[in-house]
């Protein structure tokens, strides 16, 4: 079991499958003492918490005691597949995966680790945003949109045409430091598994839509709020909302958001570069 320094936190991750980690997580290795612990246990059956049911949704049941919260994921027959046991201070997670009743276990483990990591990050004041982050002139630009719209394709175009680095292809994290918004990467970087252990100042967030021509548009505040709420992690605790809103306010106040309606060919990369050059000159 090894410890990784991610977003400035030393996190021990005990993963059982290296499919999504190899070549992706090594850049984060540290010899520092872990402060957070994520353990995976492969089991043949899930021992349900012997506690009163706290809440229930279609696929999940929730339990808690003084120290831990428990979430059990079920299949359609209500058979338990996975149990996540979380210490209430977020510092220790035990993930029990039923290895007989679900597949592929490597993907499931990685997805749950990502979810757990994002939970820790939000608790520490980070805002994960569903986007593909690339560098341009020493800043990070985030292309955000629902899956399938073309975030990765456009990031790849910027890499191919202009030598940009893709620093995270799924969920980079935002944090305000000294009144400036920074973009942090993590090993959790989506199916393309492109990420670097880096921190860059944010250039802007580009919300992407497919179109018949390349066009940029400044969003109204209401539109910007809708895009941000749709594409950022929504906290489930009142106090965590405050930080999330501070980041959103700053993004809107600093004009860090634009809508890009574009075609699916190389011209979209060329037009984006021209826009970023103009945008940087304006600043």
């Amino acid at each position: 079991m090894r410890t990784y320094k991610m977003i400035g936190l030393n996190i021990l991750i005990d993963y059982k499958f290296d499919t999504f980690y190899t070549g992706n997580i090594e850049a984060y290795l540290t010899l520092d003492k872990p402060e957070y612990f994520i353990y995976t246990h492969l089991v043949d059956s899930i021992d349900m918490p012997k506690l009163p049911l706290k809440n229930k949704t279609d696929k999940r049941t929730f339990y808690e005691n003084e120290t831990y919260e428990y979430v059990v994921y079920h299949n359609q027959k209500e058979e338990p597949l996975t149990l996540i046991q979380r210490r209430k201070d977020y510092k220790e997670y035990h993930i029990y995966l039923n290895q007989l009743t679900q597949a592929p276990l490597d993907g499931i483990e990685y997805t749950i680790h990502q979810m757990v990591f994002m939970e820790i990050a939000v608790e520490k004041g980070f805002t994960p945003i569903h986007s593909s982050a690339f560098t341009y002139h020493k800043k990070a630009y985030l292309i955000s949109a629902p899956s399938g719209v073309g975030k990765t394709t456009l990031s790849k175009r910027m890499a191919k045409l202009y030598g940009s680095d893709i620093i995270n292809d799924d969920k980079p994290l935002l944090k305000i430091v000294n009144d400036e918004i920074f973009v942090y990467s993590s090993p959790f970087s989506g199916k393309e598994a492109k990420n670097q252990n880096t921190i860059y100042p944010l250039g802007s967030i580009i919300f992407l839509e497919q179109s018949l021509r390349n066009e940029f548009r400044v969003l109204s505040n209401n539109e910007a709020i809708n895009h941000l709420l749709k594409n950022t992690f929504r906290p489930d605790k009142k106090d965590l909302w405050e930080n999330s809103i501070t980041v959103k306010n700053k993004l809107i106040e600093d004009n860090k958001i634009v809508l890009y309606q574009c075609v699916n060919d190389n011209s979209s990369g060329v037009a984006l570069k021209e826009y970023l050059d103009k945008w940087e000159n304006k600043k």
Partner: protein
């Protein structure tokens, strides 16, 4: 009538938006904006209120007549009911 536990109003970039906390965060996936009168009604409904009280509140605060206040309150209550917030 009362707003369900877990729904709160937050101001983002000068706009009022309903967000969720706790168990409701698991189930509610919509985005709801409120203008100033809707925010007043929402905040009043957090502590519980009747339709008549809300109508009176709108008439007192915004100097609107009974017909307009009644239409607005009923419309807003319908929206909250449809979204399972009330």
């Amino acid at each position: 009538m009362k707003i369900k536990e877990g729904f709160i109003v937050k101001e983002i970039a000068g706009k009022n938006v309903v967000v969720t906390t706790g168990d409701e965060a698991l189930n509610f996936n919509m985005i709801m904006h409120l203008n100033s009168s809707a925010k007043l009604l929402f905040e009043t409904l957090k502590d519980g209120s009747t339709e008549e009280q809300l109508i009176q509140l709108l008439m007192d605060t915004y100097d609107v007549d009974l017909e307009v206040a009644t239409r607005d309150v009923r419309g807003f209550i319908q929206v909250l009911t449809d979204k399972n917030i009330l």
